[in-house]
Amino acid sequence: MVMKSADELKTATSLTSAKDITRVQELVYEMKVEQVMAHDVITVDPSLPMSELRALLRDKRISGVPVVKEDILEGVVSIEDFIRYLAEGQPNCSVSERMQRKVNTLFDNDSLVRAVEEFDRLGYGRFPVISRNSGKLVGIITKGDIIRGLLKKMEIDYHAEEIHRYRASHIFEDIIADKTTLIFQYKVFSRDFNRAGETSSGLKKTLRRMGISPQIIRRVAIATYEAEMNIVVFTEGGEITARVTPEEIRVEAVDDGPGIADIQKAMQPGYSTAQDWVRALGFGAGMGLTNIQKCSDEMHLVSRLGEGTKLEFIIHLNNVFINAAAHHN
């Protein structure tokens, strides 16, 4: 995708319907002026003589320069001001006497969409950027900076996505079988808080390497972490198994007891049998099973007192692997 002008940018940013939001539109709302602006700004002191301005503009190949005293913007002096000064044949004076004092600026944390609007509304080539916190001049921004910033961001996102797709498409493509299931098994130890979380952390890394989408990974990781904490906190230890197919991720958390006395109660948000030492760790608020349910597409919980508990949850992949493979070819 190539963008040639701010006009096209503007077309891209004028929202017609929420459904039609493109990546560029998302980015101009997300990204801030400070992310794309030039930080090193050439500035002059108000006391600089006009006679020295020409050499500066020529040497730096710029058409105007902000006039700054102690980091505060006082005005802008441009090549037009210089020509006017020459034409009037005035004696030498400081730039502060000839500069434009009323300057349109942008704030560092303005969104790019606001910057595009300002470029369009006022027709200027560049805007000085002021820090909203300190009021100081912190940068300068041109239309070119915006386009470069957007392209760079899109390129980074695109590459990250490509690598994911590449890996994801390969792992299932390279295996020749009618049905493929990858199984990852983890042991979970009772009351071992130094290791609690290792399973979900490990599973998360594994899924990321397989190129599964970040949103899916987040849901699997959160649900697995809650299941893992339940085993650590309440049971004598157990095992977590994740089964990954092109269609779904199925996670099973099994322990050897003591089992849940009242499943219906356990499922209620806020209900917990956790003791104070568990709460001191930031858990045991009775939100674990609710969280797991929220993160997954299906959840099954079976428990027998004195025997143990089996919790299974499923997250659909909607064939992301297959789609990715098709896209890749």
Partner: protein
């Protein structure tokens, strides 16, 4: 908001992530219950918490949070600092209590996940 600005506003001590202070945090979350953090926090938030143990680091790792500020002058142990370093998590500490720390960030315009999801 940059982490460096958060540090200024809350007068923080920095334990890890000195290189990453230019990173942007979009949202704030003040919470001591790690289950609630897992359930509600949005990626890209900074977590303010009074809880200080390895589970905080595990939780933010899972929830994709890269910055944590301990409140009321609590300072992380070496073990917690090392865990955070391994995971590129920025650890800060402020002497402010939870309410004041959250309030200061909210006052300068940092939003919470609830407002954004609406």
């Amino acid at each position: 908001m940059k982490i460096s600005e958060v540090i200024k506003i809350l007068d923080c001590k920095v334990f890890t992530g000195e290189k990453d202070l230019d990173r942007e945090v979009e949202l704030g979350c003040g919470c001591d219950l790690m289950s609630d953090v897992l359930a509600f926090i949005k990626p890209g938030s900074i977590l303010l918490t009074g809880l200080i143990n390895p589970q905080v680091i595990r939780t933010v790792e899972i929830a994709e949070i890269f910055a944590v500020c301990f409140v009321r002058g609590k300072e992380p142990t070496e073990e917690i600092v090392n865990m955070a370093k391994d995971r590129d998590i920025i650890l800060l500490s402020t002497t402010l209590p939870m309410f004041e720390a959250c309030g200061r960030l909210y006052y300068v315009g940092m939003m919470g996940g609830y407002e954004v999801s609406r």
